[in-house]
């Protein structure tokens, strides 16, 4: 054996096989092998003082008015417009709800874990969503706070700015590197999304021409959510990476939110993940720049009962 190892090329052959095997395993572990950690127990009760006033599903969906681009009932009002901005097709959803419990998140296969993925439209259909967008793709990373529908799944801090949606429907931004989950009043928080960066804070655009997500450059498909006032939101999804629609920079995206009157806005996972779903159909044209179609993601943000 000793002689074999010291022969020219013997070591190289064995080592190459080991290195190739290790590399393949790490790539599969990171991108492919699903790891379930927690099965989600669906409980969308919001811990607010107004709980007793929160509408039940029995009185929901009453007197629906539904068109190709809008939905309205007693509790939810959604209006989607499509416009061209900065050589990009932009889908803008104006959403008003009467209670924050109608702004929900859902995880692929109702499971918290890594590499557990479904298309946005699939997750939306499984949850009877009226309207949905892709979320922050938490399952692609091992860090970043994950608090969904009031349940904390991950408290490992990264370096991201997070969007915090409290039980009154108010938006705020926290910096994970400065704020631990222990210092938060978690019972008052309905959702934490970890991607970023923040686009608009207190009415001011907080990104500039040089701002970028570490993994996303200037013109791209984008998904972002903004708040005009608590329970009145704007969600923007842009197409990109095509000749017809180049995509938006973060600054262009932030400007769109301020034009809509948003005082807070936050960037979510974009690129090939960017998807807007409404009433059983995908509204935008998702693409990763090479092929068209929805990318499977870990989670969605949706409006529904």
């Amino acid at each position: 054996m000793k002689q074999f190892l010291f022969k020219p090329y013997s070591w190289a052959i064995i080592f190459s096989v080991l290195l190739t095997g290790a590399t393949t395993y790490v790539l599969l572990d990171t991108f492919v092998i699903p790891k379930s950690i927690v099965k989600v127990i669906v409980d969308t009760t919001v811990n607010t003082e107004a709980d007793t006033d929160a509408p039940s599903t029995e009185d929901s969906e009453s007197a629906q008015i539904l068109t190709d681009t809008s939905y309205q009932d007693d509790n939810i009002k959604i209006n989607i417009t499509t416009e061209k901005a900065d050589d990009t097709t932009v889908y803008i959803a104006d959403i008003s709800i009467t209670d924050i419990s109608y702004l929900k998140t859902a995880l692929a296969n109702d499971t918290y874990g890594r590499n557990i993925k479904e298309a946005t439209s699939e997750i939306a259909e499984n949850n009877q969503a009226i309207f949905a967008i892709n979320g922050d793709f938490y399952g692609f990373r091992d860090y970043g706070y994950v608090l969904r529908n009031g349940t904390l799944y991950r408290d490992t801090a990264g370096a991201a700015e997070d969007l915090v949606i409290d039980n009154t429907g108010d938006f705020s931004i926290l910096d994970e590197s400065e704020t631990s989950t222990d210092s938060l009043n978690l019972s008052s928080i309905w959702q934490i999304l970890s991607f970023g960066p923040a686009l608009v804070k207190e009415g001011n655009v907080v990104v500039d021409n040089t701002s970028e997500v570490s993994r996303s450059m200037s013109s791209n498909p984008r998904t972002a959510i903004g708040m005009i006032s608590p329970l009145h939101y704007v969600i923007i999804v842009s197409d990109g990476r095509t000749e017809e629609s180049t995509g938006l920079s973060l600054l262009e995206l932030a400007d769109l939110f301020t034009k809509q009157g948003c005082i807070e806005a936050y960037n979510l996972d974009g690129g090939g993940s960017s998807t807007m779903y409404f009433n059983g159909k995908v509204v935008n044209i998702p693409t990763d720049g090479r092929t068209f179609g929805e990318r499977e993601v870990s989670d969605i943000v949706y409006i529904g009962y």
Binding site: F6, A12, L19, A22, T30, R141, D142, R215, N220, R290
Partner: protein, 148 residues
């Protein structure tokens, strides 16, 4: 030309072959980064951009220097162990950087990545240790021993 001179020329040829292999490896790493960046939508990673430096500096440049300065070392017992460990360390560093770059561009991470770099450090460290021992022996060696 003496036997010693012939032997030294043969050693330099063997070092030259190693240098060329590392230069090709470095060029390949450089090309991989360029090709990968075509599909990265402008996203770049320093780890992937500079991974070609491992085989270039730790490999090509290093063997070029010892080929000129210590050509007889290749004949020493222990050189093969150093050679295997050191070169494997360079390969692990380069592949580790490639993986780091892929993960950074994709926006993800892996807990196993640090194992690659730890393994690389251990292999290069062990290789360098053996190399230092070889240098000490080299200084004590006679020309006759270098032609063995």
């Amino acid at each position: 030309m003496s036997i010693l001179d012939t032997r030294m020329d043969d050693n330099k040829y063997r070092y030259g072959k190693t240098v060329i292999v590392f230069l090709l490896f470095s060029a390949f790493a450089f090309a991989v980064n360029k090709v990968y960046s075509l599909f990265g939508h402008g996203v770049k990673s320093d780890a992937m951009t500079w991974m070609f430096l491992y085989p270039l500096i730790l490999g090509g440049l290093f063997y070029l220097l010892i080929g000129f300065l210590l050509p007889g070392m290749i004949c020493f017992t222990g050189y093969r162990l150093f050679y295997n460990l050191y070169n494997s360390g360079i390969a692990v560093f380069t592949i580790g950087s490639l993986l780091k770059g892929i993960f950074e561009i994709a926006g993800t991470s892996s807990p196993y990545l640090k194992l690659f770099f730890m393994t690389g450090y251990v292999m290069i460290g062990a290789g360098v240790l053996i190399f230092v021992i070889l240098i000490l022996n080299y200084k004590r060696s006679t020309p006759k021993e270098l032609t063995k």
